[in-house]
């Protein structure tokens, strides 16, 4: 029974590691700041969450040790990592980092121009 559970936890941790590799490839391959940020904040978050969950389950089942810090870490990363992505993206947009040249829509552009016209 324990061997099966060990394999399951190993699969969870490997899944997280693969997602982290995927997000690293996304950061390398994607064309501009916003798409890279999309790759980095989403798949890396889920990757870290599954690694932490796998470690938590392993120590819970194998050693009978329930580590609340790992649960707290899961909640914390789940809360803060997307917000960090949002803030980096917004800082990039506000400092006028250009979008990918094949982007078709920029809804904030009109709003920024309106504000500029009002300020004038």
């Amino acid at each position: 029974m324990n061997e099966i559970l060990e394999i399951v936890f190993g699969v969870i941790i490997l899944f997280g590691a693969l997602l982290s590799v995927l997000s690293a490839i996304g950061v390398l391959r994607l064309p501009d700041v916003y798409t890279r940020n999309h790759a980095a904040s989403k798949s890396a978050t889920l990757g870290v969450l599954s690694i932490l969950l796998g470690a938590f389950l392993y120590f819970w089942v194998e050693e009978g040790y329930m580590n609340a810090r790992l649960l707290l870490g899961i909640v914390f990363v789940f809360l803060t990592s997307p917000v960090a992505g949002h803030l980096i993206s917004r800082a990039a947009y506000n400092s006028k980092v250009p979008l990918w040249d094949k982007s078709v829509q920029d809804d904030l552009k009109m709003k920024n121009q309106d504000e500029k016209a009002k300020a004038r």
């Binding site: 810090r69 707290l72 909640v75 914390f76 506000n94």
Partner: protein, 141 residues
Amino acid sequence: MKTNDLILQTVTKITVFIIFAYSLTLFFAGHNSPGGGFVGGLITSAGIVLLLLAFDLKTITTILPFDFKKVAALGLLFAAGTGIGSFLFGVPFLTHSFGHFDLPIFGETELATAVLFDTGVYLVVVGVTMTIIQTIGEDDD
């Protein structure tokens, strides 16, 4: 430019409590597992720095109306006091002791005077880091 920090401020309001709770856990866990006054104090001040990032300095000084220089001084007083307190029992400076007590909620707990020394370290770390950060942050006006 008018900024809208709603997302950052809302998440800060939730995560600050997690950070403070974690720093207290580390502070009390220091005797038997990794942690202690130094890390606990650093994490507490990291939580206050997160508050300072999300809100402005004026709001935070109203919420936490401490003079952090006095906090650091109080911490030093605690640390020196536990050292001098050992003279009362006729033992060398900074001799610590511990005992087992039956507390109402926790049951039998080991209480050590080293925790008082650690409280001193904690207060000094919080006081010094927050003094550094607040003095740098105030410079622009």
